[in-house]
Amino acid sequence: MIDKSEIKLLLKTLEIASVANPASNKINVLEFSNATTSENNRVRDAANRLILSLMETNNLGTCIHITGEMRALTDPFHRQVCEEMRRRDKGSFYVLFHIPYKRIQDAFSLVEWNLSKWASFRLRQWKEELRTIDIIAKRSVNLLAYNTFNDIQYSVFGHKYILLQEKHDDKAINKRIWLLESEAINGILVERGRQLLSRGRDVNEGLFRDFTLNLSGVASRWCLTKLEKKSIGKDELFSDPFLRDYAENPQGSFNALKIMGFIVENTDGLISITPVGRDFLNSY
């Protein structure tokens, strides 16, 4: 049961999200979470289960995430849901997220921005980061960029469901979350979402794939294997006959490795492999 103050906050949040006079609508609160990690996870888990069950009955409806930093995709269960939607040809979530437009043209700049945002709420974990990048690279979601953001964040799906977050600072790790059932409010927020999407810019998810190819490909492995033996200067690395003869874009691999934190360059231009870089090299 949620108390009166929480209901008041819910109605206020809906108002900010452009739902006029929300109290006039019939709203069923399926789940509510206080601003704690475990509670937030519980409600998100319930939403993911709901999406999976809607998939079974072909009732997914319009699926939109209005987000700040696309953190929903760092949730492994939600990644699985998105992947399942793609695999079963059930459409995909539109994900509107905040990023300066100049960053969406280039794979490295795009990924670097996202990693910096995901890292702001927890310690960096390269495997989780890469799994999230992979899911986008497979086009399991449809990304749109929005370069200014100061809106209530929510997700809509299944014709009548809403996962709503209280207004929060972008850096807030936990927040109050409601999983709601209301056809009317879903309709309003879907329309609001469509308006926001129409103002956003399409992001080529293929750029995430380009990033992973640069990161995992031949040139990258070549560099990491060399650096595993000793640190060397960038010029020496790039003048390697193998890279010169075969690799089309060794700079791309270098950038990808650096962005993921697998290599570091010191002030003298000497490049070294990092412990996570060794981990990555030995992982496949």
């Binding site: 996870n41 888990d45 993911n48 289960r49 999976l52 492994p76 269960f77 699985q80 399942e84 995909s92 495997k127 890469l130 799994r131 992979d134 690279a137 497979k138 086009r139 449809n142 080529n204 293929g206 794939r209 992973t212 190819l213 995992s216 490909g217 031949v218 492995r221 070549w222 294997t225 193998f242 075969y246 690799a247 089309e248 992982s283 496949y284």
Partner: protein, 479 residues
């Protein structure tokens, strides 16, 4: 000419094979489609040779119908890499159609499509359309599109190696995402709910592949008190030993790193009102001992007698040793009680007060016998018993049969799944262990009142036990 290509491929791949494998099957697992003219003899020869060489190194070559219908598009989408030699108008047009349809049908084909095109065409209309669709275009001199020049081959091979490595990396990442070493199987939803509460980093992995069974696995971790986290996978099998054996085998097949499977849930207890320490009460916990699981429905039935012929397998040795030491060292308020309280609170379960009374040991004539009380033990807390556990596919509701089995096999609990788990793990070279909370006495008065509490008690003790087990050194590095 093919020998030249093979030598070229060997050279590149042995350079790359500073990575661990040899070159022979370097492209194994890679599915490719090569789109090339079927009218220009030079291109036909190139494509034929390339296909043969790539196949030699392990790649699977897809064959796609010329008509780009829905089936053909699906097959193309199934490819990991699409190589198109756009040296002729026909192939350029097909590449454009694929790109167009990929975008408007929201397919991923364009991301995997590599177009090799003579550089003379770089400023032409076709190339500008390729660029519009963000295609990966490789410009080469026209002379490369002949059998004698290996540069085109080298470019294709390099792109294939890139894709192979990326695919291999992705596969390893997916496998490491779900690499549990401990499996827990429960039978009833009430048991599963309690077990979920003992896991940290909980998440669900639902698998529903075409033509395969629906599988739902719950993943999480339990922190070891010696450092590191045990990776756990939990599944629910439903009632009975056959279902349990199937689930255990499926789980091992799906997660080959699983070393031991725990059966955690509720069971009937075997009371002993004459010996307080041997008396198993409702809410107590029974874990298996070295005699393991007695499959008491494995019998030879003669006209006048029944001969029991179970062949029990011992539970996993290290867990048996650990549980004996763990119980031996339990003092004061063991942490499993706080875990139990936590589950009870989350599941809103109260410890029941009722006890079934219609049972032989509870009555002497018309007079009810009091349950014996163990001194120095809080009667509201479960006691933990180690002993043999009886298992069959029969719901036992007979105190007489229960007592007969107890006398013959010294069993402390009776349930319906553990022998299936024991058989399946034995057959698959894995270990098993059983933790059961006692919810009834397998008598006429058997009911479900104690099930939630007993399930919670079993789950809480399982957490406590797993926490007490150190991880192997290499497992610690996973985190």
């Amino acid at each position: 000419m093919k020998e030249g290509l093979i030598a070229e491929a060997n050279s590149l791949m042995s350079d790359i094979s500073m990575t661990r494998e040899g070159t022979n099957n370097f492209l194994t697992g890679l599915k490719i489609w090569i789109g090339a003219s079927s009218h220009v003899q030079e291109i036909i020869n190139i494509a034929k040779n390339y296909r043969e060489v790539f196949e030699k190194f392990g790649a699977t070559i897809l064959s796609i119908d010329k008509d780009l219908g829905d089936i053909a598009m699906r097959r193309i989408e199934d490819a990991d890499l699409i190589l198109m030699f756009a040296a002729t108008p026909g192939i350029s047009a097909r590449a454009l159609e694929i790109l167009f349809r990929s975008r408007f049908e929201k397919r991923t084909i364009a991301d995997k499509l590599y177009i090799y095109i003579p550089e003379d065409y770089a400023s032409g209309f076709i190339c500008s359309r390729f660029n519009f669709y963000n295609a990966k275009i490789k410009h080469l001199s026209k002379s490369c599109f002949c059998a004698e020049n290996n540069l085109l081959f080298r470019k294709c091979l390099y792109d294939m190696c890139e894709e192979t490595l990326n695919k291999r990396r992705q596969k390893a990442l997916i496998e490491s995402e779900y690499a549990p070493k401990i499996g827990i199987i429960t039978a009833l939803p009430v048991e599963l709910r309690s077990v979920k509460h003992i896991l940290s980093n909980f998440r669900t992995h639902i698998i529903r592949e075409e033509d395969k069974l629906y599988q739902e696995y719950n993943h999480g971790t339990i922190e070891s008190k010696s450092g590191g986290k045990h990776k756990i996978v939990v599944a629910r099998c439903g009632k009975g030993n056959i279902k349990a054996a199937i689930e255990a085998s499926t789980l091992i097949n799906k997660y080959p790193n699983v070393e031991v499977i725990f059966m955690v849930g509720v069971a009937a207890g075997v009371p002993n009102v004459k010996d307080a320490r041997q008396h198993v009460r409702l809410g107590d916990i029974v874990v298996c001992n070295e005699y393991g699981i007695i499959k008491f429905d494995m019998v030879k039935r003669y006209t006048k007698k029944t001969e029991y012929i179970p062949t029990p397998n011992a539970p996993k040795y290290e867990w048996l040793t650990r549980v004996e030491n763990h119980i031996g060292n339990m003092e004061g308020t063991p942490s499993c009680w706080s875990y139990l309280d936590d589950i009870l609170e989350k599941e809103k379960i109260d410890r029941p007060r009722t006890a079934p009374l219609k049972d032989t040991p509870w009555f002497e004539g018309e007079k009810a016998v009091r349950q014996p009380i163990v001194p120095d033990h809080d009667p509201k807390r479960p006691r933990i018993h180690i002993g043999a556990i009886g298992s069959s596919d029969t719901v036992l509701k007979s105190a007489i049969i229960r007592d007969r089995l107890s006398k013959k096999f010294k069993i402390k609990a009776i349930e319906m799944e553990a022998s299936g788990i024991a058989e399946a793990t034995w057959e698959n070279g894995r270990g098993y262990f059983v933790v059961r909370g006692i919810c009834d006495f397998a008598n006429d008065d058997k009911n479900k009142v104690w099930q939630p509490y007993a399930a919670a008690a079993a789950a809480a003790f399982t957490r406590d036990l797993i926490e007490s087990m150190p991880l192997m050194e290499e497992s610690k590095k996973d985190h």
